[in-house]
């Protein structure tokens, strides 16, 4: 047996800052694509420790686990710590819900600063005012030509989730937008 393989994130080593906004690659996290209907929610609640949110654009959080509403039967679960969610879901089986690990499919960029909304609105057509998209709001949407999941973590802080191979584009787009915002 050779040595254990080490992780290489697609945005490792990058960082960017300009007046009004900074970009940082998010730390690795456990992610689950959770799919369930009404009858699967109890199981999901048991595993997560809280009920998945039921309203569009909303999220729920407990401890290290964030659960983002993506669609009527779809959630993106992000666990900043490795609290063993994939194993817990695997134990419950696939009869009531589907839990697919996508920890490596997605990567995330943390966008912070007073101009964060302007930067995002360079490529995201949604209304990101605090009234329409308050802290805790989330949405699967687009940024330029890439699909993203946008999650507002603070008044001036967002987590931008995207697929791994789109991250270079999303990072570059945000950088270009930040410079001209």
């Amino acid at each position: 047996m050779s040595k254990v393989a080490q992780r290489t994130g697609p945005l490792d080593g990058r960082n960017f800052g300009t007046t009004g906004v900074t970009l940082t690659p998010a730390a690795a996290a456990t992610r689950i694509s959770l799919r369930a209907r009404e009858d699967g929610l109890a199981t999901a609640k048991k595993i997560l420790g809280f009920a998945p949110p039921g309203k569009p654009k909303s999220s729920a959080t407990k401890g290290s686990i964030n659960c983002l509403w993506i669609g009527p039967d779809e959630w993106l679960v992000i666990d900043a710590d490795d609290s063993g969610l994939p194993a817990k879901f695997a134990k419950e089986g696939n009869t009531k819900l589907s839990a697919v690990e996508i920890s490596h499919r997605n990567t995330a960029i943390l966008l912070e600063g007073a101009k964060a909304v302007d930067v995002l609105n360079s490529g995201c057509p949604q209304d990101l005012s605090s009234a329409s998209f308050p802290v805790g709001a989330c949405s699967r949407t687009i940024l330029g030509k890439s699909e993203i999941v946008l999650y507002r973590t603070g008044e001036h802080a967002f987590r931008v989730e995207c697929w791994r191979s789109f991250s270079d584009y999303v990072w570059s787009f945000l950088m270009d937008a930040a410079k001209s915002a």
């Binding site: 009869t95 499919r105 890439s146 697929w163 270009d176």
Partner: protein, 997 residues
């Protein structure tokens, strides 16, 4: 009268709002000139006594500056900072002068004042409407050699820059409660009223300074304050409010469905040394709950003989140049009008010390107060009269005036003639939003009638001429838009009346057919051209427009449309509403491609997707090919190798030892749930019920029509969980099609789909040494033939990280596809490489992969199939479950056409000369000596040199191909005909001995 020396002899000290202490320097055709900060190129030229701004498009006639705003059809210039930052056809009336700006006049050779192209003017009787249609009819060959090159050379105004645009552009999506377009009196009043509500307001105005025509006023007051001060105060008040976004230099150019309005903001075009990080322009895509259009009105010129001489301009423009820029447009100024507002220009100029030579009013009895005031000021007045002739080559020198009912004429020496045919409400955006217009007969104009979008038109764009009424309208519309409390609009005084108009041609514009009385300055269209078009049978205004090109230039006929329409209506003997207006289209004014493309240039033009192992391939000299948005390693040339040599070596090494291949781009979908197998049965032609857990199967997916849509290997992870792979390019559409069936046809099924394409990095290790290489790195999986036969899938660990290990082969060799979580892809690849390289393993790219799969007769969907190929046609009919009751495409496959004899079927081809490699796409015939057009039997889909076999191989779709094995067919090429023999699609190891080891 005192003239400032610094920024032009025609600058009037104490007039205007620009600061004499701030000056800039620019060049005009190489000549250095000074201007004040805030000057437009037009005001700076006029201050320096320059009216001549270029040559016209068709006749190369000297042309001047006509207006003071966005409607300018005439003064189009070439503006640059440097060689790459150059833009032709910039309106001098809009371009702000910045330090170091280079301006050039256009459309002349060798110089502006002596232009050989002006010969067109002498031949103008030949360039009648429809000239091109009539003249270049024959001979046919002359089109290619003579007419087209000539027309192309002569076509277009200005010269496009040849260097790449070094500037960058930005985009901003915005949402607001109220978007107000236009920052004139009405727009500012609406913003001021609505802003108090705290709701989100965006106010956009195309000019550098808000205020619109208020900036042209001298004596007028709003709420007892001078209009200019009211503007400054209101703008300051709005700028200080959090909920208000003020966008000067921003043109609303497009009004789309659901109150989506596109704006173009010019960010740096007025700056001398812009911050390189700033975008040149920013596109705003605004979604507004309500829209208030306060787009104002545009003054029309008058149509009379030689009405295009430099020095002839709009009366409103002269007033703007005087009162805002402090510039006198001439020293002996004539006025020719059908509208009251031009009189105000005369009075202002005379008051500023400019001699007004005469006011010519077409109307028999204009407002007696105006006439009386002119008399008091000592300005000669001619009523019921028309200007019938002008003289002056590079600048107007005189005008000839005749009473309309009388042939007696008198001549006035002038150096500038101000004209006004009245005002055209700017209904462009309202019309773009599909709002309906109505014709206001009394005032000769179209005004908004029925709106479609949630918007309101206020002020002069709504035909409201009186300022008090306009402000009341603004307050009412703004209050309604934000559901605010009604307030009283301020009282105003001293605004000029906008009464009186003329649309169509005046005396002196014809009806004879050689008078040059221009309607459209930019496309050089005269009144006579419209009359001719009607005589020649164009009865619809849309036809007249296209036949004469009136209103088809970049100004879209902002000044000319009403004149053209009225002349056409008169010639047709119809009422104006019966002839109708042409449709307004976006953009309102030209928009740069840069603004439209904005961030999507260079690397951001499109997404470039790279696999986790991309960096390794780069380090090892891979040449990449684009597959969809992916960069895939195509081949790995070593020193001295061309592609052919590299691919041959990669194939040989893989078949003799081992090859390592990055298959990460394959689409992957996790199908999970109690109904997963039922769903797989539906989506794929194959049977899945009996597929054992831990085993894989090659699946074919059809569309309803029975044609192959995608293929891939599917592994069963558990009873209710499948690991589905798709083609690289097919990944998104396969998932979409699956979701479509699930959501629309079988919503009650308990099965869910998740794309895992990027969760897994996929490392293919293929070749006789594959097991030897991989085995020591793997934990918890027995790789032996007995424990893990071909088409098995196992879960375990490799290099200490989780893996889904598949024993599959697209090469025909013993092979594994190692799926690891993507972030581990590079590290696991490195470990395998470290182990495999000493054993003779080489990396191979997509080209070698294509060759090796073709040697085994494996199809590539999209290359060997084209959307008209069934599984049977492709020779994979075995993958269609014979006992299945249903699957997508089952009915399509029974259509008579799809089971008929003589369908194109996939077969192998071997060239009689083994060294000849066929061209993919080449056609195949049975008899090369038959007359042309030959009967095509089919075509080559894949063709390669096989180093392993020592001869070329090809796959082809050929009519009745399965029945032609052993036949000789022909591939006619340009210089030779290649004989081929039909053979089996499997060229190598038919019995699969290499696989079962």
């Amino acid at each position: 009268m005192s003239f400032s020396v610094n920024t032009g002899a025609n600058r009037i000290a104490g007039k205007g709002r620009l600061s004499p202490s701030k000056t800039v320097t620019f060049t005009l055709d190489g000549r250095q000139l000074n201007a004040m900060e805030g000057d437009t190129l037009a005001s700076a030229m006029l201050a320096n006594g320059i009216h001549l701004a270029g040559r016209s498009f068709k006749y190369h006639r000297p042309r001047g500056i006509l207006g003071a705003g966005a409607e300018e059809p005439s003064a189009l210039m070439d503006i640059s900072r440097d060689n790459a930052r150059r833009q032709p056809n910039v309106r001098a009336t809009v371009q702000e002068v910045f330090d170091g700006m280079k301006a050039k006049t256009q459309n002349h050779y060798p110089s502006l004042t002596f232009d050989v192209g002006a010969v067109n003017n002498w031949f103008s009787p030949f360039f009648s409407a429809g000239f091109y249609y009539k003249t270049f009819m024959w001979p046919k060959q002359a089109w290619k050699n003579l007419y087209e090159p000539f027309i192309r050379e002569a076509a277009g105004l200005g010269k496009a820059p040849e260097e790449a645009d070094p500037d960058h552009y930005a985009n901003r999506y915005a949402h607001c409660d109220l978007l107000i377009v236009g920052g004139g009196a009405s727009g500012l009043m609406a913003a001021k009223t609505a802003a108090k509500s705290g709701k989100r307001i965006i106010l956009a105005d195309e000019s550098a300074s808000m205020g619109g025509w208020l900036l042209a006023e001298s004596e007028a007051t709003i709420g007892g304050r001078p209009a200019g001060e009211w503007v400054t105060e209101t703008v300051a008040e709005l700028a200080a409010m959090e909920n208000v976004t003020l966008l000067p230099r921003t043109t609303a150019f497009g009004y789309y469905a659901h109150n989506m309005v596109a704006l173009a903001e010019r960010v740096t075009d007025h700056r001398s040394r812009p911050d390189p990080d700033l975008p040149r322009e920013r596109l705003w895509q605004v979604r507004a709950k309500k829209v208030i259009l306060a787009t104002g009105a545009i003054e029309r010129h008058l149509v009379f003989a030689d009405n295009d001489r430099p020095g002839i301009m709009l009366a409103s423009a002269a007033r703007m140049y005087l009162n805002h820029y402090g510039v006198a447009v001439g020293r002996n100024v004539g006025i020719y009008t059908a509208c009251d507002s031009a009189w105000a220009a005369a009075f202002d100029l005379q008051n500023a010390g400019v001699k007004v030579t005469a006011i010519i009013d077409m109307r028999a009895a204009p407002d007696p107060d105006l006439v009386e005031k002119a008399r008091e000021m000592g300005i000669p007045v001619r009523t019921g009269s028309a200007v019938t002739k002008t003289a002056g080559k590079m600048r107007i020198r005189s005008m000839t005036v005749e009473p309309i009912a009388d042939p007696l004429s008198e001549k006035f020496e002038i150096d500038c003639l101000l004209v006004s045919g009245g005002w055209t409400p700017s209904v462009h955006l309202f019309s773009q939003s599909r709002g309906k217009l109505k014709f206001d007969e009394e005032n000769g104009r179209f005004v908004p009638d029925i709106h479609v979008e949630d918007c309101a038109s206020i002020g002069s764009c709504n035909g409201t001429d009186d300022m008090d009424t306009a402000l009341a309208e603004a307050v009412a519309a703004a209050t309604a838009a934000v559901s605010g409390r009604a307030v009283k609009a301020p009282k105003t005084s001293g605004f000029a009346s906008m009464r009186g108009h003329l649309i169509g041609s005046a005396k002196g514009a014809g009806p004879d057919d050689h008078v040059m009385a221009f309607i459209d300055f930019q496309n050089d269209v005269c009144a006579k051209d419209v009359r001719l078009a009607v005589r020649e049978g164009m009865h619809s205004i849309e036809h007249v427009k296209r036949y004469t090109t009136t209103g088809m230039a970049t100004d879209q006929g902002k000044m000319s449309n009403m004149h053209g329409l009225a002349i056409a209506a008169e010639a047709l003997g119809k009422e104006i509403p019966a002839v109708g207006l042409t449709t307004f289209r976006a953009p309102y004014t030209p928009v740069t491609f840069g603004a439209i493309v904005n961030h999507s240039k260079g690397d951001l033009f499109d997404v470039t997707r790279r696999t986790p192992m991309h960096s390794w391939a780069e380090e090892h000299g891979a040449v990449f090919e684009d597959v969809g948005n992916w960069k895939r390693a195509w081949y790995f040339p070593r020193a001295g190798e061309d592609m052919h040599a590299a691919v041959a070596r990669e194939c040989k090494t893989t078949r003799e030892a081992a090859g390592i291949f990055d298959a990460s781009t394959l689409g992957k979908i996790e199908v999970v749930g109690p109904d997963a197998v039922k769903f797989m049965e539906l989506m794929y032609t194959n049977p899945w019920q009996k597929l054992a857990v831990g085993m894989c199967r090659y699946g074919i997916m059809c569309r309803e029509d029975g044609f192959i849509y995608d293929d891939g290997v599917v592994g069963r992870i558990s009873e209710d969980r499948f690991h589905v792979t798709t083609t690289t390019g097919g990944a998104p559409r396969v998932l979409n099609m699956m979701e479509d069936y699930l959501q629309t046809e079988f919503p009650e099924w308990k099965v869910w789909l998740t794309s895992t394409s990027e969760q897994w990095a996929v490392i293919g290790v293929q070749g006789p040494k594959a097991r030897e290489i991989v085995e020591p790195l793997v934990e918890g999986i027995d790789l032996s033939l007995e424990a893990m036969p071909h088409m098995a899938i196992r879960e375990g660990k490799i290099c200490g990280v989780p893996t889904r290990l598949m024993r599959v082969s697209f090469t025909g060799e013993l092979g594994f596809e190692i799926n690891v979580p993507a972030d581990y892809g590079r590290a696991v690849w490195d470990a395998i490489w470290e182990r495999g390289e000493p054993l003779g393993m080489a990396p191979y790219g997509t080209e070698a992969m294509h060759v090796m799969r073709a040697e085994k007769g494996f199809i590539i969907v999209g290359q060997d199939t084209d959307g008209t190929v069934t599984p049977q046609d492709a020779g994979v009919g075995w993958a269609v479950g014979k006992k299945k009751a249903d699957f997508v495409g089952i009915r399509g496959l029974t259509r008579p056409d799809l089971v008929a004899e003589g369908r194109r079927q996939l077969i192998g081809l071997r060239t009689k000369d083994p060294k000849v490699v066929l061209e993919e796409g080449a056609q195949i015939v049975a008899d090369p000596n038959q007359p042309v057009p030959m009967k095509m039997l089919g075509f080559v889909t894949s063709s390669y040199w096989s180093e392993t076999l020592g001869h070329s191989i090809a796959l082809a779709l050929v009519e009745g191909g399965f029945g032609r094995k052993g036949d000789t067919l022909y591939v006619p090429m340009e210089n030779e005909t290649i004989a081929v023999e039909v053979c089996d699609t499997i060229f190598l190891d038919k019995e699969g001995a290499r696989l079962n080891v």
